[in-house]
């Protein structure tokens, strides 16, 4: 008998009595008019720098003023207009070993924790938002939901081969519980929230 059969057989023989899935599926949320403020607060608590912008082109101006050279930036969001652009998928992420800034679009934000959903459909390669030194996410204010429950109701996580919630720059507190921002992923993170005036 294979291990598979052996395990399944023993699980079947030993499993506890039937217990139904919970039926309650609604949880308190954050009212729509408070979500933007809540998202900003949660993301800042997680170490993000949040900027409200009226349109995507303003992000390009911001990057130009702050980072001067377009070679430092890989931009994957249409309309930003500053930085290098990746026009084809990149098979080997190691090409980005020395990349300073990546501009990436997030399709959904979560107010309760400041997390933003990023999928490979919006990335030239999966490692991009991790390997860059500084991540800039772009998200539309309308795409901010209240809680994780609403996030999963709005998403089909299996529709993409890879997707991740990102809440702030990478961090660790493994040395004496001292919080250090910048572990293996980005050391800094901007979130540009596009909200037409």
């Amino acid at each position: 008998m294979s291990s598979r059969e052996k395990i399944l057989q023993q699980v079947k023989a030993n499993k506890p009595p039937m217990s139904p899935l919970p039926t309650q599926t609604t949880f308190a949320s954050i009212p729509p008019e408070e979500r933007l403020t809540a998202f900003i607060k949660s993301n800042e608590n997680a170490g993000g720098i949040v900027c409200l912008v009226p349109d995507v082109a303003i992000i390009g101006n911001y990057l130009k003023v702050n980072f001067t050279s377009p070679e430092r930036i890989l931009n994957t969001v249409q309309g930003v207009g500053f930085g290098l652009e990746a026009d084809a998928p990149i098979t080997d992420g190691r090409a980005f070993g020395n990349l300073e800034i990546a501009v990436v679009e997030s399709l959904l934000g979560v107010a309760e924790n400041g997390a933003a959903w990023v999928t490979e459909d919006n990335l030239p390669t999966r490692v991009l938002p991790f390997i860059c030194e500084h991540l800039a996410l772009v998200i539309h204010a309308d795409n901010i939901v209240g809680t994780m429950h609403e996030a999963y109701a709005a998403l089909n996580v299996a529709a993409t081969g890879y997707g991740t919630f990102i809440a702030g720059p990478s961090r660790t507190a493994d040395i004496e519980q001292s919080l250090v921002i910048g572990a293996h992923g980005p050391k800094r993170m901007h979130v540009f929230i596009v909200q037409p005036f």
Partner: protein, 464 residues
């Protein structure tokens, strides 16, 4: 003849050793309690916290009651997603499967993010016997790996180390400045050191936080980004998980991800919660489903619900015994209260001491996000271990005498009287720290002149 083990490490002995360094023990206690407090602040901000715990508990109950079906469903969907699925009956088979995948790809360089399962299976040690090096990439795990120690906490692997010790380790292994102990400086050094490992790794191993039956995908949570850095650069991803990590549907992630990080560190969510459903173009993705005693554990009526654990570490942070004894005193991959109820399922003889490493205060059960009755199980394990004769003779005899005395009013009175007399005449005997283990950390009380019973006899109203 007791079947109790005399040669294995004993929690009480190891704890006494840990406590010899008072300053460190106090620091450890406070650091863990700080985490517990952050958890409280975070939990209190969620009006539905108790409803979330109850929901999570019910989902996990449902998972365990249908585990075979969910496993088959998960496998089917994962295969359709292009993930290679392997089944391992025990630790040895898990290690062999991983070894075989590594060998098929011509060995090469390996990185691993945090996985308590691979700790449980002693994967690193096994691969070392095959001449294969593996680099742990979580900062805390890298620290203990360099120190040649196991993690002392499931979420904070190096919580027992002071920054000066980390500085010395990094000085020796990574060439940081002698005497430097600033956490930011040391973290930056580890980042540079591990970045090179990520960029050259051929195979990346990760654990799994949740695997979704409905979609055949899995979720890995980190703060450092090390799991993602590893797998997105390597040609091969091997994810290892215990069979109990299955959840039925993707929507259930909403419940668990809200609870996990808040319970662990007080963060509302980990920095990265990555959902893997298909390998990237040109990558190979493997998933190893490991039993290693879990299917047998499932059949233990009083103990199976400890398989609901999502490895947040909240019970560990709150435990007054863990905080003052350190994770290594539990001599098992998972320390603290949850480790103390999981370990005896693996080996009663080896881990007979662990369910006694508790005050049964119940704080662990109060913070558990999936409502495992941890303190009840600690208590029940004691009964099982005594019935099966795994308790040392001195402890067993003592408890039997006490049971006899407490169940007989006459004996109780005689024992009380003689005890008080002894304490008055020979106070040194009760306070002798060699003879009376209870007195080791305590001053014995002054014996009262009379008992309540004697006082009541004298003072009760005459008409009664």
């Amino acid at each position: 003849m007791s079947k109790a083990h005399n040669s294995v490490p004993d929690h009480a002995e190891a704890a006494a050793k840990f406590l010899q360094d008072q300053e460190r023990a106090n620091w450890h206690d406070k650091a863990l309690w700080f985490n517990r407090q952050k958890r409280d602040v975070s939990a209190n901000l969620i009006p539905d916290w108790e409803l979330l715990r109850e929901t999570a508990s019910q989902i996990k109950d449902n998972v365990l009651a249908n585990l075979d079906e969910y496993l088959v469903q998960f496998e089917q969907n994962a295969l359709q997603n292009g993930i290679h699925v392997h089944w391992a009956a025990d630790a040895a088979e898990h290690n062999e499967i991983v070894l075989q995948i590594i060998q098929e790809h011509g060995v090469g360089k390996l990185v691993k993010s945090k996985s308590m399962l691979t700790e449980e299976c002693h994967l690193n040690e096994f691969l070392a016997t095959q001449g294969i090096d593996i680099i742990d990439t979580d900062l805390g795990e890298r620290i203990v790996q360099l120190a040649k120690e196991p993690p002392s906490h499931i979420v904070l692997p190096s919580i027992h180390k002071r920054k000066e010790e980390v500085g010395e380790l990094f000085h020796q292994h990574l060439g940081t400045e002698k005497g430097a102990s600033d956490p930011a400086y040391l973290t930056e050094a580890a980042r540079v050191h591990l970045r090179e490992k990520f960029l050259t790794a051929d195979i990346a191993i990760t654990g799994v936080n949740f695997a979704i039956a409905e979609t055949g995908g899995f979720v890995v949570c980190t703060n450092e980004g090390n799991a993602d850095m590893g797998v997105h650069l390597a040609k091969v991803h091997i994810a290892c998980m215990g069979i109990e990590k299955i959840i039925p549907k993707a929507e259930h992630l909403g419940v668990f991800l809200r609870l996990l990080a808040r319970s662990a560190t007080g963060q509302p969510i980990t920095t990265y919660s990555s959902h893997f459903h298909r390998p990237r173009a040109g990558q190979e993705m493997h998933l190893v489903l490991v039993d290693n005693g879990r299917s047998a554990h499932l059949g233990r009526k009083d103990f199976y619900n400890s398989l609901k654990c999502i490895r947040c570490g909240a019970c560990i942070n709150t435990c007054p015994v863990y905080r003052r004894s350190g994770g290594h005193s539990y001599h098992y991959a998972i320390s603290g209260p949850i480790g103390a109820i999981l370990a005896p399922n693996r080996d009663m003889r080896e881990y007979a001491d662990l369910p006694f490493a508790s005050t049964l205060c119940g704080s662990c059960s109060n913070v558990c996000p999936v409502k495992i009755d941890i303190h009840n199980q600690l208590y029940q394990w004691r009964q099982v271990l005594a019935a099966e004769d795994y308790v040392p003779k001195t402890k067993k005899d003592g408890i039997q005498v006490m049971a006899k005395v407490l169940s007989s009013p006459t004996l109780y009175r005689v024992a009380g009287k003689s005890g008080r007399l002894m304490m008055r005449l020979l106070p040194g005997l009760a306070n002798n720290k060699a003879l009376n283990p209870w007195a080791r950390q305590r001053e014995m009380p002054q014996p009262p002149k009379e008992t309540f019973r004697d006082w009541y006899k004298k003072n009760r109203p005459k008409d009664e």
